[in-house]
């Protein structure tokens, strides 16, 4: 008898507790990104940019009159951790939409689950082409790797005017490889790629590769990668006395923090420039510095825009229903955004131009805004 009573009590208690979730009195957005580890600067940027947007929205009355809540989990840059984070967000926190993942690798891992769940996903920063492929509910606020690589090739040909180029990329990283291959494909119709060299994620010694490039006729080097390895490579290149310019992609953002002197004179393509004079950019930069004490990276700007895009879509849809949000995202035409305008093509990719930046005296100087189409 006692046992039966215990079981009945436990069951009813559980039922009582479960009824406490799922009440739609707040709008819940989730973010996933590396908050710890080698790449924490990227995940923290995304979280902060999103948080700034959420705080501003709440001050202005929230979305559909409800308070917005941002829940962030750490992916450590690892796809398995990312999937765990997504499951938690979906089951425990019951988010209405996902602003994530930050890394392409993690986002690709989550994509299948998100498609199955019909969860509205707007990744601010995953640039791999496959992320939005065959996924009606997945959108991105940033341009793709293939687009970046292509535009970099156009920039190197038309602005830097180099005819012979070397390409150096990380064969263990989908992002680096994606940009490199897209660059090569576009550049081969304009000039010659004299050397294509790769390094691995475990490598520290790039001297033999740099020596090969030095001995070649390369006038510029395309080096898509993240700050940790790019910084080391640029330092070793400077030590070897290399004077030709290096060009990179959005992974270079913040390289001036630790490596300003060796990166001086080099270029990279980014989603926005904090020195851009447009009012919405400067307001964003000022408010971000006030709240977080440091200057925002492009990833923060993208996350900020992504949250606003999602907010606009929810307002347009007039509801938090997944299908309604997705339909609203498809029709979204946000002309005022920090990273340019946001309008999605039939794939879920945005149509926008790339800001090409040169690092001079540790500052980002806007050189050009290049379109790939």
């Amino acid at each position: 008898m006692k046992k039966l009573l215990l079981i009945i009590l436990t069951l009813s208690f559980t039922l009582l507790l479960s009824a406490c979730n799922g009440v739609d009195d707040t709008v819940r957005l989730g973010t996933i990104g590396p908050l710890t580890g080698d790449y924490s600067m990227y995940g923290v940027s995304v979280k902060n940019g999103a948080q700034l947007a959420v705080d501003e929205l709440n001050e202005a009355g929230g979305i559909l009159g409800k308070t917005v809540e941002l829940i962030s989990y750490d992916s450590k840059g690892d796809p398995t951790e990312g999937v765990n984070a997504y499951n938690r967000l979906r089951d425990e926190d019951e988010i209405h939409a996902l602003i994530g993942g930050t890394f392409s690798g993690v986002t690709l891992a989550i994509k299948e689950l998100a498609v199955e769940d019909n969860m509205p996903v707007l990744t601010p920063t995953a640039t791999h082409p496959d992320v939005t492929l065959d996924a009606d509910n997945v959108f991105r606020a940033c341009y793709t790797d293939s687009y970046q690589g292509k535009v970099a090739a156009i920039f190197v040909d038309e602005t830097i005017e180099a005819e012979n180029v070397a390409v150096l990329y990380n064969r263990d990283d989908a992002y680096s490889e994606g940009l490199a291959l897209a660059f090569i494909e576009e550049f081969e119709s304009r000039g010659t790629v004299v050397e294509t060299l790769t390094f691995g994620a475990q490598d520290d010694d790039y001297s033999s590769l740099l020596t090969v490039i030095q001995a070649s006729s390369a006038e510029a080097v395309f080096l898509p990668g993240y700050v940790a390895e790019v910084g080391a490579i640029l330092t070793q290149a400077a030590a070897a006395g290399m004077e030709i310019p290096f060009i990179g992609g959005d992974g270079w953002d913040s390289i001036e923090v630790d490596y300003a002197d060796v990166a001086d004179g080099d270029y990279f393509g980014n989603h926005y420039a904090k020195t851009d004079e447009a009012e919405i950019v400067q307001n964003f930069v000022t408010n971000y510095i006030e709240e977080f004490g440091s200057s925002p990276t492009a990833l923060a700007a993208l996350a900020y825009d992504a949250v606003y895009a999602m907010a606009n879509a929810m307002e347009d849809a007039g509801s938090l229903d997944a299908d309604a949000i997705i339909a609203a995202l498809k029709d979204l035409d946000m002309t005022e955004a920090v990273t340019g305008s946001i309008k999605f093509d039939e794939n879920g990719d945005p149509i926008k131009s790339i800001t090409m930046i040169q690092i001079i005296d540790g500052e980002h100087v806007v050189v050009d805004k290049v379109e790939g189409n």
Binding site: T36, G37, D38, S40, R171, L197, T198, F199, G200, Q202, D203, D204, D205, Y206, S207, S208, L209, T211, V212, Q214, A215, A228, G231, A232, T235, Q236, A238, A239, A240, G241, D258, Y259
Partner: protein, 298 residues
């Protein structure tokens, strides 16, 4: 100078640079194995801590210390660390089955890596340029100063070590202990002291390698000792584990093969080739190139 020749010489210099560092680390592995028949897998982590010590001295102390002072302090600290790991983890297992000591060494390696992760955090830190990376022109080829220092100081250290092992009493005692520990004890040699000395010297040289490595390749991070440690271990086995001269030879051979492969074939093949050579050597000459059967160690 002919462009192809110049390229070859540049790559050779790169190889000598990498080789010097592998040789310094390999000596540590080989000396410890020679004396207590243990592969000290934690040696790569001593190299990493040596680099971190130098980083700390160079960045936290407000005055600008000369390179020599920083390096010597790092080497001393690393030597103490090596002696400590021996006393804490390996000493009591001297009579245990070899596998127990091996597993302890692996455990020590993981422990030290994670300790570094906890203390220093995973983000790679930029090593200050304690030795300039600017190039000096020699015979028309620009060689970075750090490369000259690395190769020069490494060779100097190896010569000093060889003289030490051959000519001093302590060196003789080390050779005696590695030949026959019990007989050495009967001869009145303080075996414990000699073992500690071995760990100290090996760790100091490993730390020196770590300092050169981090200056040349820019960054210090907690797992930086893993790959170089592994390659140095291969170099030690290649040259004949237990043989100091073999470790030096092995270090340079592996370093040059790795660099030449990256420069002339493809960087994808470099690691595969290095590990492949290890397998070949072990198949055909298991005792390594300079083998244990050679009486005179160095």
């Amino acid at each position: 100078m002919n462009a192809d020749l110049e390229l070859f010489i540049r790559q050779l210099i790169n190889g000598l640079n990498t080789g010097s560092i592998y040789a310094l680390i390999a000596i540590g592995y080989t000396m410890v194995y020679g004396i207590i028949k243990l592969i000290n897998f934690a040696h790569g982590e001593i190299m990493m801590f040596g680099a971190y010590f130098a980083f700390l001295f160079a960045t936290t102390i407000p005055t600008d210390l000369p390179f020599l002072v920083i390096v010597i302090m790092a080497m001393v600290l690393a030597a103490l660390m090596g002696v400590a790991t021996e006393k804490i983890a390996y000493k009591r297992l001297r009579t245990a089955p070899r596998i127990s000591a091996l597993i302890t060494a692996i455990g020590m390696s993981l422990f030290l890596q994670n300790l570094a992760l906890l203390i220093f955090k995973p983000q790679p830190k930029v090593m200050p340029e304690l030795i300039s990376k600017k190039a000096i022109i020699i015979f028309g080829i620009g060689v970075p100063q750090i490369t000259l220092y690395t190769i020069g100081i490494s060779i100097l250290m190896m010569i000093i070590l060889s003289i030490f092992i051959k000519k001093t009493k302590a060196g003789k005692a080390m050779r005696a202990v590695s030949q026959d520990k019990d007989a050495a004890m009967l001869m009145g040699i303080n075996v414990d002291g000699i073992i500690s000395l071995t760990f100290a010297i090996g760790s100091a040289l490993g730390a020196l390698g770590g300092v050169f490595y981090s200056i040349a390749y820019t960054q210090v991070y907690p797992t930086m000792g893993v790959m170089p440690g592994l390659k140095a271990f291969i170099a030690a086995v290649f040259g004949g584990i237990g043989n100091v001269g073999g470790a030096m030879l092995g270090g340079y051979v592996i370093g040059i093969i790795e660099t030449m492969t990256k420069g002339y074939i493809s960087s994808r093949w470099a690691d595969a080739l290095v590990f492949g050579i290890l397998i070949l050597v072990l198949l055909f000459k298991p005792s390594g190139i300079l083998g244990k059967n050679v009486k005179e160690k160095v």
